[in-house]
Symmetry: C2
Subunit: 115 residues, 2 copies
Amino acid sequence: MKWAELEENWCPVARTLTVVGDRWTLLILRDCFLGYSKFEEFAENTGATRHILASRLKRLVSTGILERTLYNERPKRYQYVLTEKGKEFAPALLAFRDWGKKHMPVRRSVSATKE
Amino acid sequence: MKWAELEENWCPVARTLTVVGDRWTLLILRDCFLGYSKFEEFAENTGATRHILASRLKRLVSTGILERTLYNERPKRYQYVLTEKGKEFAPALLAFRDWGKKHMPVRRSVSATKE
DNA sequence: TTGCTAAAGTTCCAAAATGGAACGTGAAAG
DNA sequence: CTTTCACGTTCCATTTTGGAACTTTAGCAA
């Protein structure tokens, strides 16, 4: 089954997944809620390759979840900000966060200092 | 970046995505909440191939979200049911549902009768 | 005016994941 | 015997992804 077909699914969960049903998109949105808005910031914070990042941002913009706006004229620099539609995704992200906090503890036992 | 690395991410959203961050896993969970529990039911309702379905179910069981139990002795038949950990994913699924209902309307204009 | 840096992408290719269909298994039913 | 059912597994071609290098536009420094 292809992505496109899922868009017409009777189930709203399935349709939602056509936009955020992959490994990186939700991490980009998380960054947006944390106040980040630039390509380089997303690249660094999410760990997604620039390649994938570019395609995900395109999709988020084309679906009206993010808006791409100019923040510097010369040279042209763009930033991505949440639209109202995007902001309304907050409850889902919070639910993921809460569930993860409770049920997905970080394995790595003690220390955060390298080893 | 690999899946495994995301498991140790500081962010609970990222860690949650290591389990449900793909196209099909959430649809399987949706089915579980709708009362389905069998391999064939998931295959039919989600549209995932049996191949992928088997691997996703394995992951959901290994992460303690679903439990695989025998419901028929001979021949051996198994079913998958939500654990407490799995049931607590409900808020996330509901958030996806609500967002999808509001922001991802089904495109196909009228008729449901084929064309 | 040559060189370095920065932001935002794009391009290329090998590696990994996925889709689809066929096959395997154990047991009941016709 | 032959089908059917439920639950997977296997195989291979197609897609998607990861990673690194490259591109473009322009400011700033030497």
